[in-house]
Symmetry: D3
Subunit: 285 residues, 6 copies
């Protein structure tokens, strides 16, 4: 279960509110690279964690709880960036000096055009769980597979795209307070990337974890095709050479090679449609 603290994990200050930056921050709240995603992903991985002891479950709970505080910081930042946002398309709205200044002299109308309209129409100048285009967060992005190693890589992927997003926001930002908040979040993403990779390390690295899931005997997979790069181009070019085209495999269990893709199967043959299946007469055998 959980407890809250009214104070934020880290200071959130906005000196020059900017409704366009509020829109950008939404990606870090409700985007697929955002904080709701990692928070909920770590929670669901924890709640479904089976074996080997509760070590990883506990770690996941700690970090998921931290991430909830990040969502809070970002939602606060959005609301603060919307403090001076305009509410009317009428020309008198342009008189709002503060917005005008931020906008480089643009009118209220101009500002509204670039804002998420739902900040004005649906939330009354506050954050909502959607991305920077206003697309609501869809929880199918919570990856929790029941396989510990697979989940760790899902988490690395989330934190790698997440830190990339945070860096882009930092580069786009003009407000010192926002840059300060983001430089904290970027630091946390640095740690979180490593945290999940450290679990892979603990589990034996590539040799210990690959192929995922390692509980399926490789003798049952088609061993003629499990370490070949399949080349599919028909433009006369050879595939590029790389660590994956020859030499021992990363898991130490095979040798890479190149296989020119060709059909090993036949043209498929499906039976005709049944008379009562809603097909056209011509399709019925």
């Amino acid at each position: 279960m959980f407890y809250c603290d009214k104070r934020l994990q880290y200071p959130v200050k906005v000196e020059n509110p900017d409704p366009i930056f509020a829109r950008m921050l939404q990606q870090a709240i409700g985007g697929v690279e955002g904080e709701i995603r990692v928070c909920m992903q770590y929670f669901f991985q924890a709640w479904g964690s089976r074996g080997p002891s509760t070590k990883y479950r506990d770690m996941l709970l700690h970090t998921a709880t931290e991430e909830m505080g990040h969502v809070e910081m970002l939602a606060t930042a959005v609301a603060l960036n919307l403090e001076k946002a305009p509410t009317s398309l009428q020309e008198e709205g342009a008189a709002d000096g503060v917005v005008g200044a931020v906008m480089g002299g643009g009118s209220a109308r101009h500002t509204i055009e670039g804002m998420l309209h739902r900040h004005l129409l649906s939330t009354g100048m506050a954050a909502f769980p959607a991305n920077c285009e206003g697309v609501p967060f869809d929880m199918s992005h919570i990856y929790a597979s029941g396989n510990l190693a697979a989940d760790m890589y899902c988490n690395v992927a989330a934190e790698a795209t997440g830190r990339t997003l945070a860096v882009r926001l930092y580069n786009a930002a003009h407000d010192a307070g926002m840059k300060d908040m983001l430089h904290f979040m970027i630091a946390r993403d640095t740690m979180h990337q490593e945290q999940w990779l450290a679990v892979i390390e603990e589990l034996g690295g590539h040799e210990g974890t690959l192929p995922i899931p390692n509980s399926f005997p490789q003798s049952k997979e088609h061993q003629e095709f499990n370490y070949n790069f399949f080349a599919t181009a028909r433009d006369g070019s050879a595939p590029p050479e790389g660590r994956w085209t020859n030499g021992p495999s990363l898991d130490g269990k095979g040798t890479y090679s190149v296989f020119q893709n060709e059909p090993l199967g036949e043209e498929p043959v499906l039976g005709p449609a049944r008379p009562d299946s809603g097909a056209q007469n011509e399709q019925i055998g």
Copy 2:
């Protein structure tokens, strides 16, 4: 651009058609761990690939093209598994001996109950791009971030959950043809997991790639908090020890430690609502 071949990449045979297994296979077509996802993810990563040469772009194109052939195999397998599926809830439908045999004596009605109804009602006994619950594939799951290392981890995540799914399907299957098809696909997933990790290796491993993106100077992130595990429990327990709680960091650039999470910020203060913002009178300053 692309060319097709009417023959399948690998044989797809079904001796004992099973509409319930057809439903399961849909997860490998239109599920988030499925083949449309990896196919399209690799294509979009290739088409947006910038630097360092076209090496990774080319590799991605080869593999994306291979994956399209996997979607074809699975769609064929679904159609073949639906060949004897019933079309009516009426009792006479139970006379369909073939289905009855597969189902362990169950009636046509019983079989329909367990099927995806859309196989009967929408597709006329064929595959469609949805998962095993009938939820259509949503292309927000195509991760292509513009950061090469982040994308590689997105791909490892996709192949790790993908092979886990394929193994589960293999374990659930009862038909020799289906097991044969899946044991080929599982082998391909083995290779693909390594292929993307091999790119990381080529780029210098953890030290060369972390933190992602490595183009953001770490001097700009909050260096007090970039290698600490934040403990958030308030139940008196210490966080579990792990590779991530002490010792040198995986990227060789810091030292892990534990930080007891506490509020570094203050309680947020938002301004009152504007008079024309649709709030209640009581909220207006």
Copy 3:
């Protein structure tokens, strides 16, 4: 604007309620081939109708209004089919004789397994705007393009898949009342398919309407490639002969031929990533 009548357009009777058939009927309510879709599609086409006179606008309004009554009939049919549905997984639930009889002796538990659970958990035994798998209707399926001919083909597509669905439901049904309701709806779909094709006829048939939009001068399109079938197979087979591979085109403005697809363009070259764009260092030019 609109008026209602408490009576149904056509009788809806259910003698043997069947929760599994209630699930199937949901496809005709909230499926992409269903009645909400055609109702709303015709309304939005009408409300955005521009030129040539209000003739087609008026026709669309008439039929959209009729379709709303079809949604009502189907929603009523779902509720009636759920009248005897079980509410408990406990064994005593099996004592519900009526359900047992319909189900061929199955228990209440068995019936719940095949039902849409949301009929029990979310609606209290009533219809909802989702399909037979419980996926909510998504209004992106309302096609209204602003081009009259394109819209008519969207409507033919909707009624063709719609009548196919209705026929499949008829074939699956066991209740005389349900068959009666459906044989009315199938008749209406017959008319509606023709209604939209008759508009094409009025507009001059293929010669008058193709290519859609006919307001774009064909001199501006690439006239070397506007009547060729592009063959893309690389398996040594020739493409099948058909009405579309030779002879005069349907619109009377060209001649069909076959073109073996080959790259007319070059390998694309994208610039390197910008230093501040969140890429890896290796991608930056």
Copy 4:
């Protein structure tokens, strides 16, 4: 910010694991009436709260934090109900005695047919943020309007449908542990329904809060039509009498009456399509 406690808010015990009940419980996790919804709704309302003091913001934070613990309980309950679930469609799977007993003698295959397949294929026997049909939770259901009174009614709606769902789950359940967990949650929903209505009471009840938003002067709305029930039937019947058809309005500011709906506007006239707008020639003026 937030803290976690490894212990659950209330005991979660499952004596007779039941994969079908696991499916049902998903509605309380990822359904629109479920706990993720209320948790996130209260959080976003709190984080965007403007005026009149932080009283309601604080209350919302307390309760949102409580609800997160409810999601945890339910996710745990799903995992426990899946402990004995089958993984194979093969007949030998039927030998699993525990499942067989719960299922009333059904085979493993039968059990899988009624389960959410993603519990087997995607999560490895754990909860995920989707509803009982496997449809992922979509965060557009987080209602936070920026209007305090509107939000309170959104919350009452959420808790009223939420307690209705919890009661249906209680009635469907057969396991004593599950009934115990649910009878706690039902109690909490009782309180939460009242909590939000108590805010309305504090704000002056109907007279103080209606119409919402009360900051818009009613003199600006069309006062001829703000307290009439519009009758739209054309079947000769009068609308039913009710508290809303005559007498003083609930807000004390008007008198109810009945108005027979009729067109006050004209048939709309849209301009013809522009020549370059992609319409058919016939539509262009």
Copy 5:
């Protein structure tokens, strides 16, 4: 069943067409606070209405039918606001005097940037069932629970957020015709808020309806926890005092109090993963 009338319920006039306001109006069509939602919500509640007589069913049908006419008005308003919208990013487009005037001298290009692009690209300058960000309406927002009181609160929530939206649109508008249309719709929302609350009143108010559903005996809920406010903060602050922290409960059946939240349950224990469940070896017991 239904009838249409070619005339609008209320006049819709636009003197100064504004494509940005067309975008805003989309929220009232296809937003979660919009008119398709209330229309369909009332219809589905009516069509699934069970007991106590047809009184509420009839009322719902009347109002749902009215709401369909509101969708029509708004769709007309969108089309009229798009009458002068530009179709080209080329500079010559800037010569369109009418748009220029409305836009405060902005170019055609500038106008397109602020528009919903789908108004130009997908609809040919007409409305579509999506919100102001172009996100299609998703029918999961049709709340019809089968519980009369819960449904009434869902309707109050819809009309409270709906009137808030209409007020925001009114405040943002600059066209007299649009303000006239909206001041009618705002009036109707005033009535509809009260209409649903009047049903609660008829059913006995808080004492008669709470807790919802009132058909579940409160003796079966955990009576120790059904009237307590759970405090979850761990920052040393007491929860705010309110109508809900002490005194008799609104339903007259209990007394409010405050409970400091603490774990009543234990740390959950899940079994290890099964060998054939796709987990890593380390997770298997």
Copy 6:
């Protein structure tokens, strides 16, 4: 199975990159009228094709494969249009001369306001499978019904709306390279419209194919109502005359007439709610 060629099907050149046009092009990638849709629709129709020989299956495979190359061209065009796009809201960003020139002197900030923010934040200046508003492509738009004639009309609808979109993009474009690419794509859409209609012709035209599905005996549909236009207006106006109101039907099997819609059914009567179904007490019989 499939092969790739690194070269594009047709040249894609961009002289004046324009991030706003990049946004527009997204509709042709991930919009419902776009190329992913037709590509996948033709593939799924092919893979599920049953009877009458493999002729249509083969044709579908050829064209689906061609369409994949169109997605590639468009994705390349998006990336090229984003080459000079800004990454920062700060004023110094305005110094980017190239963008400024394209934008008619607008600042970097202004350009970002009109861009899809995800081009900057999520993809690092590349295409992604979403439409021009950033809404991800949802694969429920892949229509493959199992009925050959219905599918052909779905394809005509897709190509008719697709060519309408391409024409609108052509009209909006200012870059010669983009106009060249589009004038090729428009030509291909011309052919594809006819290709599917030619199948209808081969199958016997309207008389041979209607009503769809033609395998359902018309004697089983309600023959009193299968060729009537139902008039539903109650405003005193007669429905418009058209090809569909009198004369022989297009399929040669009936005669059109007009029927004034009236209720043929009764007011529906649903049973009361069950005591354990979560309704209010008043609803229980």
